[in-house]
């Protein structure tokens, strides 16, 4: 059996497959399908300082090989997370990544501080949510604001800090470099791509928020491209996501430069998707006589 474990900013993952933030809740629901210790880690639902209602429904629209969501970071706030969700995740035998999505730099700092004495293994600073008016993607689209918030949160926490990037930018590599320079220990990408669908019968957008974030297999080639660009631009680990739905996709993403992958929308289609990817990866490595999954990382040779 090949080695499946990877290390990101000092955190050891038993395997490189992680359900993506917002698609797995805090693990409670999918625990009814399989034990969480099978997973490399879990990126929990994005949390804000105070409870947040999220956007009005409808929040979901289907698209060819993808979906839009406009959940808008509905969550009960960081304190609730620490008191009521984290205890259930602790000791489950998987890495816990807290997805931090404050609407101001100060909020993000406070959230990070509150998490600092918890069992959370790593922070994923979400500067890329397209579904909220304040914070979110506003931080993620300029190098300056991305670097600013990264630096502030980096100072506020002892935990490894991963910054989650938005694909809705002209030059993602330069944003990645900016957050690396500002002290990020890793980057994750891509968050959702801004999109829209219209119900032609009633001539209204399907989503009550008008626009939403596209994810699912449709975005996979965009994600692979961005992961490749970013991995070539920075020296910190890259966690790749966007449209991964089978082990071949995970291999492709790792070859593009990802140290680990996150799986999102595909879970809605097949709840077992992350564990099937882990199994598939394992078999692939054995069948290909690859002793260590780390050999895949960034191994693509460009023409």
């Amino acid at each position: 059996m090949a080695n499946l474990s990877v290390n990101i900013a000092g955190v050891e993952f038993k395997n490189p497959v992680i359900p993506a933030s917002g698609t797995f809740g805090n693990g409670r629901e999918y625990e009814k399908f399989y034990p969480l210790h099978l997973l490399g880690g879990i990126s929990v639902k994005g949390m804000t300082l105070n409870p947040k209602d999220g956007n009005p429904p409808p929040r979901i629209a289907e698209t060819p090989a993808g979906m839009l969501n406009s959940v808008g970071l509905q969550n009960p706030g960081v304190d609730y997370f620490i008191q009521n969700e984290l205890p259930n995740l602790e000791n489950k035998g998987t890495v816990i990544i807290a997805n931090v999505a404050g609407s101001t730099v100060e909020d993000c700092i406070t959230i990070a501080q509150k998490l600092d004495d918890t069992c959370v293994d790593m922070l994923e600073l979400n500067i890329s949510c397209p579904n909220v008016k304040e914070g979110g993607v506003a931080f993620g689209v300029s190098c300056q604001s991305a670097a600013g918030i990264t630096q502030a949160v980096r100072k506020a926490t002892k935990k490894p800090l991963m910054v989650k990037l938005s694909p809705n930018v002209t030059d993602i590599a330069s944003i990645a470099r900016a957050v690396e320079d500002a002290g990020a220990d890793a980057v994750s990408l891509i968050n959702t791509v801004l999109g829209m669908r219209i119900d032609i019968k009633n001539r209204r957008p399907i989503l009550k928020n008008n626009m939403g974030g596209l994810s699912g297999p449709a975005v996979f080639p965009v994600a692979v491209r961005m992961v490749w660009q970013v991995a070539n631009a920075v020296n910190i680990p890259v966690v790749g996501m966007g449209g991964i739905s089978k082990w071949e996709d995970a291999v492709e993403m790792m070859m593009a430069g990802a140290t680990a992958v996150q799986v999102g929308a595909a879970i809605f289609s097949n709840p077992y998707c992350p564990v099937e990817i882990i199994d598939g990866l394992n078999n692939y490595l054995d069948d290909s006589h690859i002793a260590d999954v780390n050999e895949l990382i960034g191994c693509v040779k460009p023409w």
Binding site: T23, Y30, F33, P56, P57
Partner: protein, 256 residues
């Protein structure tokens, strides 16, 4: 309990009316646990998102579930194309079902159009103590009336054009019924406007009422927070989730 996801054989398929299909699925582990008002989440080949369909009947002896659904778009069209003997990819049973009172209580179930199927299983609990007020566009669209009769339910059939049963809306029929006879509980499923009127009537007559809601879903299990619906509890408004907190809600909680 654990959620079940798997491939279950379609053992009986019927076309009940134009674009309306009746599936019986063999899934003993699910049938054992399923409750009236819960739903199943079905994969349509070639689509990312599953389609939620309410449970219409549960046969624990035979280990089968029955669902009745309408072709509304490409996904339900694809599912309707599955043949007897083929397998259906399903996650179930999902959501919170109806509250069942003692069998000798008086219940009224009210269904409009494709909101009728979820009413059948809950009505069966009350047998002759349940009245089923079911409404359709016209005679050709009528489904399941005979099934309610087999349940020993009193059936009040309404059509918009009077081509079958009585002419008019289910809300009118409900009002007449409530004028004539008291009830302990009302269950309803159908278009939002219909539900609104029913809730108003339930309030007026001070009768407990539960409604089954719809919202666009992704995960179906409460993880993605996609299927929000505005609800109120203790005077506070918040977004509950149809797939986990519902699809059945107390009428006092919902904001339509």
């Amino acid at each position: 309990m654990a959620y079940q996801q798997g491939l279950y054989p379609l053992i009986k398929k019927q076309n009940l009316a134009k674009n309306i299909y009746d599936f019986t699925l063999l899934c003993p582990e699910i049938a054992k646990e399923a409750l009236a008002g819960q739903f199943v989440h079905i994969k349509a080949d070639g689509f990312l998102l599953r389609r939620p369909i309410s449970i219409c009947g549960i046969n624990r002896q035979k280990g089968t579930l029955r669902i009745v659904f309408e072709i509304r778009g490409q996904g339900t069209e694809q599912i309707a194309g599955i043949n007897e003997g083929e397998l259906v990819d399903m996650i179930a049973p999902l959501g919170k079902g109806f509250t069942l009172l003692a069998k000798d209580k008086k219940a009224i179930v009210v269904g409009g159009g494709i909101g009728v199927p979820p009413m059948l299983e809950v009505a069966s609990h009350y047998r002759e103590n349940a009245a089923a007020i079911i409404g359709f566009r016209n005679a050709a669209a009528v489904i399941l009336d005979k099934d309610f009769e087999k349940n020993w339910n009193k059936v009040i059939l309404c059509t918009d054009d009077g081509s079958a049963g009585q002419k008019g809306f289910v809300t009118q029929a409900l009002k007449s019924r409530l004028e004539a006879e008291n009830a302990d509980i009302i269950y309803a499923c159908g278009p939002a406007l219909m539900l609104k009127s029913i809730i108003d009537l339930a309030n007026e007559y001070h009768i407990k009422c539960e409604v089954s809601l719809e919202e666009r879903m992704a995960c179906g299990v409460g993880a993605c927070l996609g299927c929000a619906c505005k609800t109120v509890k203790n005077g506070e408004e918040f977004f509950a989730h149809v797939c986990k907190d519902g699809p059945v809600f107390e009428s006092k909680e919902v904001i339509l």
